[in-house]
Structure formats: C-alpha cells, structure tokens
Amino acid sequence: MWIYQKNLEYPVKVCGPNPKLAKVIITQYGGPDGELSASLRYLNQRYSMPTDKAKGLLTDIGTEEMGHMEIVATIFYKLTRGVSPQQMEAAGLGGHYAQHNHALFWNDANGVPWVASYVQATGDPITDLTEDMDAEQKARSTYEHLIQLSDDPLVTDVLKFLREREIVHFQRFGETLNDVQGFMNSKKFF
C-alpha cells in the first residue's frame, strides 16, 4: 500500500519559463538513469532480497525515488507552463509538443521513451544491489551534468538536493551489499 502526501519532498521554485532547460531535465523523469527507473527497479527487486534490512531499504529508497520523480515532473511542468508551441519548437521540444502538448511523458533528453530494459532484476541479491549502487552513481553524474547546463539558480538548488540524495542512497546500498554478502557467506551449502 502507498499513501500520498500532498507536498513535495523538497520545494520547487523556478525563475521563469525555460523550455531549453526542461528539455534536458526530462531525462531524470524518464531517461535510463532517471527517477522512474530508480523507483521501479528498487520496488521490484525487494521481493527477492534475502534479509530484512535489504527489504526495508529497497522499500524506503524506492518510495523516496517516487517522490523524486514528482520533483522532476514539477520542474518540467513549471519550466514549460505557458510556453508557446513556437518556443517549445525553438527549444528542441517540437517533437514533445506534437506528441504530448505540455503533458509530462517519460522520455530522455533526446525524446527516447522509457523502456523496462533500463532496469534489471536477476534474483541474485549481490548482482541487484551492485546494479543499484551503479544506478545511483549514474544518476549522480547526470545531475552533475544538469547542474552544469542549468542557467536557473532556483532549479540548480533543487538539482543539488537530488544529487546529494544519490550519494546517500549509494552509501546505504553499499552497507546493505556488505550485510547481504555476510549473510550469504554464513549460509552453508552441502
């Protein structure tokens, strides 16, 4: 069960319309290393985790990532609100406008739609937790690229918050990987 809380995890303000920035930030909504991939990956992998710590952590980080997807959606929404089709086109969002108008859609910065093959679940907890650590680093790198591209200091502030969360998640996944490795080594197979 999930409960909706009617506020963002972190407040989102923007300096004004900026479809060019929106076009690149959308990758953290529906790109390979975005928040949809993250939340679905963790919430799906938890069923094959062997320890209570790992089940709990994947549930909690997967849930926080859903909140991050909402933050990224809000950034895109605010940066494109009231932007004309011509301005969307000039910013490289002509294709987005043609297919989705101002609606949100899960695609990357080049308009490539999200696919489930961005994520994996092998049923091997060591493999899956290693993928999760890798995913957090890829998301951190992407947020750093977006910070470099951002010309809106209010958006940059939110991107920096999201970047820091990836680092904390990476740390927690690393601790869980060690714990699960210890658990697997303690099991005797004859």
Binding site: I3, P11, D60
Partner: protein
C-alpha cells in the same frame, strides 16, 4: 597551464539561492519538509544501522514534532494525507488546490 576549464568534472560556481517563501502555507509546509527530511535521512540510516540507539532516539523525537506540525497545517489548509489518515472539514477538502506542483 590552467586546464581547469577543460576538466569536465570542474564544479560550476553556483551562489546558493533560496526561493522566497511568500505565504504562510508554504512557510508551514517548509517546516514539515525540513522535519520530514530529517526523518527520511534517519530512517534510511536506521535501515542499515538498526542497533544505533542514538539515531533511533533522534528518529523517535522527530515523530511527535512532525505530527504536531502536520496537525497545525491541516487545521488551516486541509488534509495532507488521504485514505483515512487525515480528517476533512465540510465540504471534502482533499481535492482543494493548490496541488504540490502548483505551489
């Protein structure tokens, strides 16, 4: 030679900017967001350090503060939660604007 500009890892200098909080609703929400962030951070830490008593005490001390601020907020601005976790005044307030993406 100064090659920092060629270094893709070089951090852009960004002055910290905080958005203006221009109304009471957003100010009250910000307090909830700050307290809840502390809870989220401690929650994830406790998931991998369940025997850390100090962190657990810190987590447990956040809970009543967060509940109290949520109750004060809901008195003025309506439910923050659906599905039976918050009561509503008449008429049903859950559907009232502003939604989070419009604040």
């Amino acid at each position: 030679m100064d090659n920092s500009q060629e270094n893709p890892q070089a951090q852009k200098i960004v002055q910290p900017v905080k958005a203006d909080i221009n109304n009471n609703q957003q100010a009250m929400l910000l307090e909830i967001q700050q307290l809840q962030f502390t809870a989220i951070e401690l929650n994830l830490y406790l998931d991998t350090h369940p025997n850390d008593q100090q962190a657990l005490m810190a987590y447990n001390s956040i809970v009543p503060q967060l509940k109290q601020r949520i109750a004060s907020y809901e008195q003025l601005y309506g439910p923050l939660f659906h599905f039976g976790l918050s009561t509503s005044q008449y008429p049903w307030q859950w559907i009232n604007s502003p939604w989070p993406w419009d604040m």
